[in-house]
């Protein structure tokens, strides 16, 4: 799963404004980026009368709209998804996931601070990858101005993106829950599965393997 970093801050402090400055900085360094907006109030992405809206109204559990340029998927849910669940859904099609909100989750954080919005921070220095602020504060976290998206992109690159990974990455989800694997279990799984699959034709140099098992009876 790609690294997940959360941009947090008080309401109207400028989280989206900073995120849309940060995105082009990461893109021009060659990274693929997913962004996640946490919308506690619910949202409408579809328009009344459109076919996809009619599908959802008629009871569809998952609505997908597919075009040659864009794919959209909308699904009702009975709970607020956690960041590991969202990361699993997004998968390895990107290098990094940046979220807006999710301040209560454990992901490393970038806090946006403006003195006219608040006199105190939401995060402790320990949680902060970077503090984006319009006043210098006496805490032990790297601090950047409100326009210094390049500076923050540099920190993200150094801490989360630079350097090729040197070992296989394995993500395991059982019955919908991500499972942490000890290194020897991970190595046993990779060794066994790659061994089995390499006996199949044309399977010499696989980069990614996605396996789903649904057990019955």
């Amino acid at each position: 799963m790609p690294p997940i970093i959360s941009i947090v801050g008080k309401s109207n402090v400028g989280k989206t404004t900073f995120l849309v400055k940060l995105l082009p900085e990461l893109k021009k360094r060659g990274y693929r980026v997913a962004t996640v907006k946490h919308d506690v109030h619910g949202f409408e992405m579809d328009r009344p009368g459109k076919d996809s809206w009619r599908h959802a109204q008629a009871g569809s559990d998952v609505v997908v709209v597919s075009s040659p340029e864009k794919l959209a998927m909308i699904r009702p849910t009975d709970h607020d998804w956690t960041l590991p669940e969202i990361g699993h859904l997004i998968g390895d099609s990107v290098d990094i996931i940046i979220t807006e909100g999710f301040k209560r989750e454990e992901a490393p954080k970038i806090e946006i601070h403006r003195k006219e919005v608040s006199s105190e921070l939401l995060c402790t220095a320990r949680e902060l990858v970077a503090l984006v602020t319009d006043e210098q504060l006496g805490i032990a976290a790297p601090q950047f101005g409100l326009d210094d998206a390049a500076g923050v992109a540099g920190v993200l690159e150094k801490r989360f993106l630079a350097g090729a990974r040197t070992e296989s990455e394995v993500t395991l989800v059982t019955d919908g829950k991500p499972i942490a694997l000890a290194p020897f279990v991970r190595d046993a799984i990779v060794g066994t599965l790659v061994g089995l699959l390499s006996t199949l034709k044309g399977m010499g140099s696989l980069r990614t393997i996605d396996l789903r098992i649904k057990r019955e009876g």
Copy 2:
């Protein structure tokens, strides 16, 4: 992967109209249904000015909006997704996938026909699970009236949904392409992986296992 059935027919023949009648018939029988709309002309699901729209404009490769009731994911793509690719994305969260369009793909089909729209069918009798029509035609496929969604739901239930599956279902995707597995390879993979995982704590009675391996170096 759940069974995929395509509703096809000429433009304006009433594909969406029939689909929104069929959905409640499947739902009231207790099935979870995903629907897929093929939109060759592209679409806009997002609204200018919304935060998620600003993310996409700023270059986000995948935009997710998460709320306690609903989750939406939008991703740009460089190709028209095939039905197996879309089925893999949707996964086993539903029992059946009904598409609108995709007439060129190999999925079993329900054709909607009205005599004032066309004098001939798009599909051969062999491809058709059901023909929904306002005139009786001399072909060897089950035929239903334009309002007989219950009749079509009955056929889908009998052919694709009834009866519990008796063996484990395994979906394998390598480097983004779904791979067909011979039964003995499938059984070897399930046996090995379930065996390995059952040695971990609390892994007694897993229903689903999702494994992703990304190999490096």
